[in-house]
Symmetry: C2
Subunit: 748 residues, 2 copies
């Protein structure tokens, strides 16, 4: 009893100091982490969820975020995504300073002195001896070019440029049209209209308005590579166009340029350019830092490990780069709801990124969910992925369902859950047809009749298992909304994963696996398929194999454990999974492909058999082996912050099972973290003796009470409080007799 | 033998005079025919298939073509459709002259002196004493306003105006955004972005650029009904906006205005405005007449019945008002193919309108089909209906299939039939899902398994019967392209209509009807359904009932006759159909609803039992009873020219069975018609003694040879020649022993 009182007393100062500190957390962010090694991180200037992400496009413009390490810089464009795989998107309205003759076939330049920090990207273009600095606001870019002495200095604005894929495949972007109109010797506007890209989306239009601080000597345009000096504008005839502004520059003369961007019109782009209320790069960078600190500062870390802080804050930064807030920029309908784009894909981000928003910035999550519901209202389906104002592509399940259920159980308010539920039912019941990669659930005619997606459809294994978890999300919502019949219906469907469980398949000592099944309920032959066959769009498993996906039953791990033969068998199976080396070790741990999302929860599954020490050991191994401060410091594509958010949660010491009000305890890496919850409360997380060796939990106190189980609820910490770990270098078995995390089959 | 030679000789002069005459056929067109009585004809200024259709929007802006007879004129807008039903579309960029105070809540005016001719609409606005004349080119409108003496004359440009439906239902248009930018005292540009309308389409944007011939004294804009004097422009914030130009006018002062319209950009709109190369109304009207005469003059009628010529040429005019040629104006993709929009719907127009293009202007048909194939390539499905750059809605079958097959059997070249066939197979095999009214075939999972669309789906009867005919179109193509297996497959499916034939249903002495069927193959009870239950979107029959649809087997009338009990029974059934009065007589003949398309072919079905005299009698009864020169001179909605095209064919004396190379002979009304085929050949059609009494064919000679059957092929007349009828006032039984028109079941 005395102990409890003591902890309550410890709690008090935490509440008193719940306001955020003024520290510049942005200094911990290194925008280059994850730009190489397939991370595809965007290293340019941005603010959280901004419309404008201003940075360099390099080489053949084949890379997802525009940037590439060794090739030339082609120019600096205003719209990008970060951390994505597949075909590139955006790279619109490209600006490039050029000195000497303009060669429209290749005006790129090698670079030196490349640097990036929050809100500022700088580089020297060696071919032209021009020093470049870029900053940005939400919807506008600020360019600063320091020229050498020259009578032939130019700034090009290329409205026909965009990122693309080599060989015109379906995922490449294609130009629909472009236009420029020179308004004066300091002003130009126009647009670029592009279709395609990763989500094979319909045409989107990026409008711009640009203003120079220095009048040009001459101006002109080009069209389809042909210079048209003196011509001030040209109407859209489908061909790529651009404009150039000529200057006579003194040595070191600085020319600046504000570029407003809009998805509605050039006039709106001009309005957006006013966000930059001065020509000062410093002011713009400071404003960007302020905006980023409002996010980053929600987590105040007191720990001496500078590298870990750098990785952590950069991970937070990655997590909030997108979706893009395009409220007031929706060209498809007018509504009073928020509008977000660049869900790329929710399949990646529902697991850790969105729960991270719920923890650190629930108002953002609320706005995004309202946007998803509005998309459903106006277009028929919530997206699983969306970019350039168009849904597509669904990789597995309908993961908007997970976001809604997660928000619902974590009691986010301001969301029309009835309407959201309607959207979830639509996902579950109405076959999207036509292109089943676009939205909704493909293979539904099978799933809703025989109870699994048969081999007649692509991604049948991933779809079946993910739909089952989605159906549990629907059941959870139905129950919460008092719809008993629907609860029963979808709770039953949530067991559909069992229909693909082939009890006879054996692999490395484990028995029973998820397996391809024909519509007549016979199984695919083991000669034609192995537990390790990993796949992509047209395969049975998506970004996973049978070993990985046979662990994917987040809604009912208890039942999964039984299917696997009980606790001991399940433990052996997990042990084998994390140790049986087969794959590329740069992205794998045993059979676990760290770089793909289907296994995100698997390290924490030891919690479900009360072997939390093993969760701690595996999680820490992943954190230290696959995340670092280098340019290749992420395990593969960041996937719109997914990899980074996984790091952020695990570094804090717990990890969500999305759609349930459950955090599974892992192993905190920081000695002290103060989370300034958006509701004004402070959540203090301490980890006594935490360090690279002390990875095992000896005890945990939640709000001063000893926690004897290896999990807790979001609703337990929503009002702030303390979560106090005591760490050690040996397994303690601390929670081995505690109540297990909940599973669907706990409910009768 | 001598007789044959004689006719060959008669043929010669016809070939020699195959060039078109210079007569002004446009004078026969009365744009007001069909504007009332539900015809929904657009009476304003246009050129064939033009992008701009400039005319008045009236009253509450609830009518489909904008025009209404008794209400006030709100203004003159630039984009319209003609003859459509359901929710209105377009009505964008509205211009209105106002004298005195501007009341933004209601600036409409009563009218007088309203007149319309090809390429010219004129009216006096009584409230403002302004005389209005409007003309147009393909993509630009020319306005002429004659003002009274006033210090407060204005011209308003309302970018927030559009046609809508009372009560915000799904088919109404909704504003997405609008923008105006006053460029000078004579220039303005901007746009209007709107979504919804009949096809519940995605947002489309109509850009404009307008130039006055007279500088304004003052200018300003308004937003959401609030005047903003002196303000020159405003960015899009989703609210309706507009601009006004103020003038001080002398009595009778004329102010003119050119308005370019584009679906790409204001700069393109400005380029389009240059189509009007002078300010002359007369020149613009003359140019419009020339363009219309190039269409109308293909049919040179020598007959003294002026009313019939007026109806006929106006019908031709209606048939070529849309689809709209938007080549070079596609904001969704860039391609070298033509681009047409406003298919509204092909379900209406495949039956007579498109075959009319094939006869009179095959180059147009080719361009349109190439556009359909391009839409399939870029968007996944050929449209059945499309407007505002978005597919939707499919009323019954996938009728693009019919257009392709029709062009194929009639040997239109320049079409990629392989790609087109791929699009047809997509229709037949891939369920559109999501919104099954948008494109493709709804209810396909039923149709492709149990062989009919069950009552689980809406429009199950219409869909089944129409899909069967569509499948025959696919079979025809497959055969022609040498795909034997596919030919067999779809030829078999083309019999699927039989699966809904309930042999036990009786009505008015006829036995055996198309009937609602459950998926378990049991039939709907006769107590719950009657042969006369006519329906709409959610019904079993669409715009038809069982009596009507039980005649709809265009691919196999022979088999239908057998099902109905043989020749005599079929004849009795047709007799009953055309005489048993039940419906509204203003649009019906017996049980036949003349105002709906499913029965278009039925009057000609007598030909299939060699009772051609009865076809002649019924056709002539319809022509004279339901078509006249009044404003209500069409039987219901013209349906994008469908009703008018039906008239045109029947007036010439034959009618197509679309998808087959077959014209069924009816009863020609003109004594002599010279059709100047686009390939340079002349087809001369004479009807000796033709007149209101002489409706029965006594004999027919095709190219001098006595035709003993009641049908012929398009390929028989493609090279021109003569088709000579001899008419009389009594049935002659002329073809009663001839070869019957072909049916699918003729082939073994």
């Amino acid at each position: 009893m005395m102990k409890q009182i003591l902890y309550y007393l410890l709690l008090l100062p935490a509440i008193c100091f719940s306001q955020q500190s003024n520290k510049n957390y942005a200094n911990y962010v290194d925008p280059f982490i994850g730009t190489e090694g397939g991370g595809h991180i965007f290293p340019g200037s941005s603010v959280p969820c901004s419309l404008v992400k201003l940075g360099p496009d390099c080489g053949n413009k084949f890379t997802n975020a525009g940037w590439e390490s060794k090739t030339n810089i082609v120019g600096f464009s205003h719209v990008h995504v970060s951390g994505t795989g597949g075909g590139p998107k955006y790279g619109n309205i490209l600006v490039m300073p050029v000195v000497g003759n303009i060669d429209l076939k290749d005006y790129s330049s090698p670079r030196s002195n490349e640097k990036a920090s929050v809100g500022l990207y700088s580089v020297t273009l060696d071919k032209y001896h021009v020093a470049v600095r870029l900053s940005s606001s939400h919807s506008a870019g600020l360019h600063e070019y320091t020229f050498p002495k020259s009578k032939a200095s130019h700034i090009l604005i290329d409205a026909g440029s965009f990122l693309l894929k080599p060989h015109q495949n379906a995922e490449t972007q294609q130009l629909v049209g472009s236009e420029v109109q020179i308004l004066s010797n300091t002003e130009i506007q126009g647009y670029s209209r592009v279709r395609g890209g990763w989500n094979i989306g319909a045409a989107y239009t990026v409008y711009f308005y640009a203003k120079f601080d220095t009048p040009a000597k001459e101006m002109g345009i080009w069209k389809s590579g042909k210079m048209m000096p003196g011509i001030k504008g040209s109407f859209d005839d489908g061909n790529p166009t651009g404009a150039y502004f000529d200057f006579q520059t003194r040595e070191g003369q600085i020319i600046k340029m504000k570029v407003g961007i809009s998805f509605l019109s050039s006039a709106k782009a001009k309005e957006n350019s006013k966000e930059l209320n001065s020509w000062s790069m410093d002011a713009a960078k400071q404003e960007a830092e302020t905006k980023w600190n409002a996010i980053l500062g929600a987590v105040e870390i007191n720990d001496s490990n500078e590298d870990n802080k750098k990785i952590f804050y950069t991970a937070l930064y990655h997590s909030f780069l997108q979706p893009s807030d395009r409220t007031g920029e929706n060209p498809k309908w007018f509504s009073s709801e928020p509008y977000y784009d660049d869900y790329y894909a929710i399949w990646d981000t529902f697991r850790a990124t969105f729960p991270l928003y719920t923890l650190l910035k629930p108002s953002l999550n609320k706005d995004i969910l309202r946007s998803l519901i509005d998309i459903y209202k106006y277009e028929g389906y919530m997206p699983d992925a969306r970019s350039g104002n168009d849904n597509g592509r669904v990789q597995g399940g309908t993961d908007g369902d997970m976001l809604i259920a997660d928000a619902f159980v974590k009691k986010l308010d301001g969301i029309d859950y009835q309407k959201a539920f309607e959207a979830m039912i639509k996902n579950a019941e109405i076959s999207p047809g036509g292109d089943e990669r676009k939205e909704g659930r493909g293979g539904l005619p099978d799933y809703n009749t025989v109870g699994f997606v048969s081999t007649n459809y692509e991604r049948a294994g991933s779809r079946t298992l993910e739909y089952a978890n989605n159906d549990y999300a629907i059941a959870v919502m139905a129950k919460g909304l008092g719809k008993e019949e629907l609860y029963k219906k979808y709770r039953e469907r949530a067991s559909n994963w069992e229909n693909l469980w082939n009890p006879d398949v054996e692999s490395f000592g484990a028995k029973g696996f998820i397996w391809p099944r024909f519509k007549d309920k016979t199984w695919e032959n083991a000669n034609k398929f192995t537990t390790l066959k990993s796949g992509s769009w047209s395969s049975f498993f998506y970004e996973s194999n049978s070993w990985e996906l046979s662990f994917y039953v987040p809604q009912d791990v208890k039942k999964l454990v039984l299917k696997c033969g009980g606790y001991k068998s399940f433990e052996n199976r997990l042990d084998t999974f994390f140790t049986h080396d087969m794959h590329d070790k740069s992205v794998s741990l045993g059979l676990f492909q760290v770089n793909n999302e289907p296994g995100f929860l698997t390290p924490d599954l030891y919690n479900y058999i009360n072997k939390q020490d093993k969760t701690a050991a595996i999680v820490r191994k992943i954190l230290s082996r696959f995340y670092n401060t280098s340019q290749a410091g992420l395990p593969g594509n960041d996937d719109s912050g997914a990899m980074s958010s996984w790091f952020a949660f695990q570094a804090l010491g717990f990890y969500p099972n999305t759609g349930q009000d459950v955090y599974l305890i892992g192993s905190p890496i920081f000695k002290e973290v103060n989370i300034h919850l958006q509701n004004g409360h402070l959540l203090r997380i301490t980890a006594k003796d935490a360090g690279p060796e002390n990875i095992y939990i000896q005890s945990v106190f939640l709000n001063g009470l000893l926690l004897t189980k290896n999990w807790f609820r979001h609703t337990d910490i929503m009002k702030g409080g303390t979560l106090s770990f005591v760490m050690g270098n040996q397994p303690s078995g601390w929670s081995n007799n505690g109540e297990l995390p909940p599973s669907m089959s706990d409910d009768k």
